[in-house]
């Protein structure tokens, strides 16, 4: 027998999946625009982000209504609390996609400093994390959530590598610091996307087990 709260929870999950889809696409468009020097792709990023913002408000309103009308407890309550946070994480990821597009546009306005290898890899990893975090949420797949957590270390590692490389470059080519800085900012934006996906994976573990593993908590 379906409880009346089930329909509401199902709708929330669907909306978060849709939001995640748009976030992924926004990151993809921003990355393609950068790597293939196609600034026209950045327009799409803004369109996707606008949709994400709209859904952000809708999901919050849905959560508020469920809290008010269903008085959820136990796993239902943990799920709604987590959805409120996942919703914010997705919205921030949308913002990061816009930041990537902005920094990429700046970067493309001057001659390129190097072939881009690590940044596209980071972008792929970040998108994988977003997709997997939401899949783990929808399927209550704790193993997949753990995969997301592990992936974040790889993304952080790539960011550190990019930072090191570009710092060396900036020392040797002080006139091109601004260009290098744009890439550093993009790496930083992608790393933040990974952090938000990590938050989602942590929320998935909280929903399923009630355990709060954030900030090194066991």
């Amino acid at each position: 027998m379906d409880r009346s709260i089930d329909a509401g929870l199902g709708k929330l999950k669907d909306k978060l999946l849709v939001m995640g889809g748009f976030v992924e696409k926004a990151i993809e468009e921003a990355t393609i625009g950068l790597v293939e020097s196609k600034p026209e792709r950045f327009k799409k990023v803004h369109e996707y982000e606008t949709t994400v913002n709209q859904l952000h408000k809708e999901v919050d309103e849905d959560c508020l209504n469920l809290l008010a009308t269903q008085s959820p407890l136990a796993k239902d309550l943990r799920t709604i609390l987590a959805v409120i946070k996942i919703n914010t994480d997705l919205e921030r990821m949308g913002d990061q996609a816009v930041n990537i597009a902005y920094n990429a546009e700046e970067y493309l306005s001057a001659p390129a400093i190097k072939p881009l290898v690590d940044i596209p890899r980071m972008a792929d990893d970040a998108r994988f994390m977003v997709r997997s975090a939401l899949d783990s949420f929808v399927r209550s797949d704790l193993k997949l959530a753990e995969v997301v957590l592990a992936k974040d270390d790889e993304v952080d590692h790539l960011k550190d590598q990019i930072f090191r490389e570009l710092l060396t470059y900036m020392i040797s080519e002080p006139k091109r610091i601004e260009q290098a800085l744009n890439l550093i900012l993009i790496a930083r934006n992608l790393e933040r996307v990974g952090d938000h996906a990590t938050n989602i994976a942590e929320d998935v573990i909280f929903i399923a087990t009630g355990k709060d593993i954030r900030h090194g908590g066991a």
Binding site: R3, I5, S71, P72, L73, A74, D76, R78, G210
Partner: protein, 256 residues
């Protein structure tokens, strides 16, 4: 958080029967002093029966039987020769439907426990009535009509009158069996507020069908199912991260 207060009431391996039917099975419960403990569970799960074993009301029903041990401040209330009436003075009871004595005034209703015990001091009775009515958050509403019949009050006021009556004999423990299920939301809210105040003076054990009420007002909650206490924990834990699947299913409305 650790238990700071010692336990005041201990139930050990409590079984309760109606004839051949076992309504309560091997229930163990340790109640912390000055706390509110809620007992929840579907109808017929034994929570009210268990409550009534705690002040020996269960045995008043023909065919009812009890096994186990209940200790109030370490005194076995079922020890041979113990007067159940003396126990019920120490472990008071408030029922689902307010039941003021219809022929008695508000004042007489409050002090009936004392007058039946032979206390005649007018000053003491009046002081106690005022104190009990204040503790039950009813004083302001009735102080000018103490001689009116108890039954002239509204349902919510009558229930607070019954709480005042229970408080007047200064029991260390009060049992409440669905005390708000016959009341409107405002009266319910008043009684819930009252619980927070009462526990400074007494220990409260409340049976309720209203899960939100248990979550709002109690420090601890026990979940009963088919005569057993399935889970007992701090209410904040039980209602957010219950350990037993059956508790989870019940409080999220998957059965019951």
């Amino acid at each position: 958080m650790k238990n700071l207060n010692a336990s005041i009431l201990e139930a050990k391996n409590v079984d309760a029967f109606f004839g051949d039917f076992q309504a309560v099975k091997r229930v163990n419960l340790s109640v912390e002093a000055n706390s509110v403990t809620a007992l929840i569970g579907p109808s017929g799960c034994g929570k009210s029966t268990f409550l009534r074993t705690l002040n020996r009301l269960h045995e008043e029903i023909p065919g009812a039987r009890f096994q186990g041990e209940v200790r109030l401040n370490n005194e076995n209330i079922y020890a041979r020769g113990t007067d159940p009436v003396r126990i019920r003075r120490k472990i008071g009871m408030v029922f689902q439907k307010p039941n003021p004595f219809p022929s008695l005034s508000i004042y007489e209703n409050v002090v009936i426990g004392l007058t039946l015990a032979g206390i005649r001091s007018r000053v003491y009775l009046e002081e106690t009535a005022e104190r009990a009515l204040k503790a039950a958050a009813l004083w302001e509403e009735v102080k000018d009509k103490l001689d009116s019949p108890g039954t002239s009050l509204s349902g919510g006021q009558q229930q607070r009158l019954c709480i005042a009556r229970a408080l007047a004999v200064k029991p260390p423990v009060i049992l409440m069996d669905e005390p708000t299920s016959a009341l409107d939301p405002i009266s319910t809210a008043r009684i819930e507020e009252l619980l927070g105040e009462l526990k400074k003076e007494v220990t409260v054990i409340i049976v309720t069908h209203n899960m939100q009420q248990a979550a709002r007002c109690s420090d601890y909650t026990g979940f009963f199912l088919l005569g057993e206490m399935i889970e007992f924990d701090r209410s904040t834990t039980l209602f957010t991260v219950p350990k037993d699947k059956r508790t989870e299913q019940y409080i999220t409305g998957r059965f019951g």
